[in-house]
């Protein structure tokens, strides 16, 4: 029974951590994309002839901004499906 409580504790904290990773990552990425998109639209409205030049760079930066967030998501997903932090708890439980 004690083991169940320990596993639940580890899983509970992991779930909170996953929320933080994805939530804050998404927050940052969205703010970044929003600022960049608004600046791009402003620039495009001011100088429409530069749109083809800026568009490629905007997509490049969109990918760069998204990347850190998606690395976080990948990490979070990994922890969600196969929690490596549980291994020690399981090993300790098997020892008893």
């Amino acid at each position: 029974m004690e083991l169940v409580a320990h596993i639940a504790q580890v899983q509970g904290f992991t779930a909170i951590a996953l929320g933080l990773i994805i939530g804050f990552g998404a927050l940052g990425a969205c703010i970044g994309i929003g600022i960049m998109g608004s600046k791009f639209l402003e620039a495009a409205a001011r100088q429409p002839e530069l749109v083809p030049l800026l568009q490629g760079r905007m997509f490049l930066l969109a990918g760069l901004i998204d990347a850190a967030f998606l690395i976080g998501v990948a990490l979070a997903m990994y922890f969600a499906v196969a929690n490596p932090l549980l291994v020690n708890v399981m090993a300790a439980g098997a020892g008893h």
């Binding site: 760069l64 990948a74 997903m77 499906v81 196969a82």
Partner: protein, 267 residues
């Protein structure tokens, strides 16, 4: 889900995240071989080369066919990107950029196949684990980015000479009296390039694959509502993923060009 083992969603995803490895190597050994990644990437690389080579051989200066026109668009797009960043002899960098772009794009595009398609086919031949997306394997992305690092170092030596490059490594930001700091900073900069390049591509593709797997997990729940939700989710994420794989291939290409052209710059 032909190859689905018992044990629900977690088991299903874990099953799909295991690489095809030579059987005599023990679990978790350091030296191993991900046969699936190597095979798929080799097949795609050969396909890309054959396709471009065949089209280039039959290229005409007259009215181009659809295939040639498509290749010309890709070629001019990549060449334009190289031209924007790098001002010098493009005979090596241009083909390199084209290869990186097309190859990474094709490898990423394997993500768009249904997640169970290739494992289902290989399961017919008795192979249980098969991951079809080479770029969702951290070994592949690091192999590519370390190759870029080697090229960066090679071109640094070539453009500046041994003395010039050493001079830059030891004196670049703060002058010669602080050479240990300069060297440490330059090393960090040098190492950060392949790590960020590889992790970016890997993270994107791995997250994409996992989301596909999570959605595919809905198909086995048995409820019609969740099944149709899964189909809609799969389609929506698939469409969004087309954008991601293109952008990631593009970023990998552009950063390769930028890093190599930075190696040509003198300080």
């Amino acid at each position: 889900m032909a190859s689905e083992p018992q044990g629900g969603l977690t088991e299903y995803i874990r099953h799909h995240l295991e690489h095809l490895r030579p059987p005599h190597i023990s679990e978790g050994a350091f030296w191993t071989l991900n046969i699936d990644s190597v095979t798929v990437s080799l097949v795609l690389g050969i396909l890309f080369c054959l396709w471009f080579w065949l089209k280039a051989r039959k290229a005409t200066a007259g009215v181009p066919g659809k295939g040639q026109a498509f290749l010309e668009i890709v070629l001019e797009f990549v060449d334009g990107q190289v031209k924007d960043v790098f001002h010098g002899d493009r005979r090596f960098l241009g083909p390199l950029a084209l290869t990186v772009f097309a190859w990474v794009f094709l490898m990423n595009a394997m993500d768009l196949l249904p997640v169970d398609l290739l494992p289902m086919i290989t399961a017919k031949f008795g192979i249980g684990h098969f991951r079809p997306v080479p770029t969702a394997d951290v070994n592949m992305t690091f192999a590519m980015s370390i190759t870029v690092l080697v090229l960066v170092i090679f071109y640094s030596f070539k453009a500046k000479g041994f003395g010039g490059y050493m001079h830059e490594l030891f004196t670049a930001p703060f002058g010669k009296w602080l050479f240990p700091f300069n060297f440490a900073l330059n090393m960090v900069e040098l190492v950060a390039k392949p790590v960020s390049l590889a992790m970016r591509l890997f993270g994107n593709m791995y997250a994409g694959e996992l989301v596909f797997l999570l959605i595919a997990g809905l198909f086995s729940t048995g409820s019609v509502l969740l099944y149709s939700l899964g189909i809609i989710g799969y389609a929506v994420w698939g469409v969004f993923h087309i954008l991601i794989i293109t952008i990631q291939a593009f970023i990998f290409m552009v950063l390769t060009i930028v890093y190599i052209s930075m190696a040509h710059d003198h300080h």
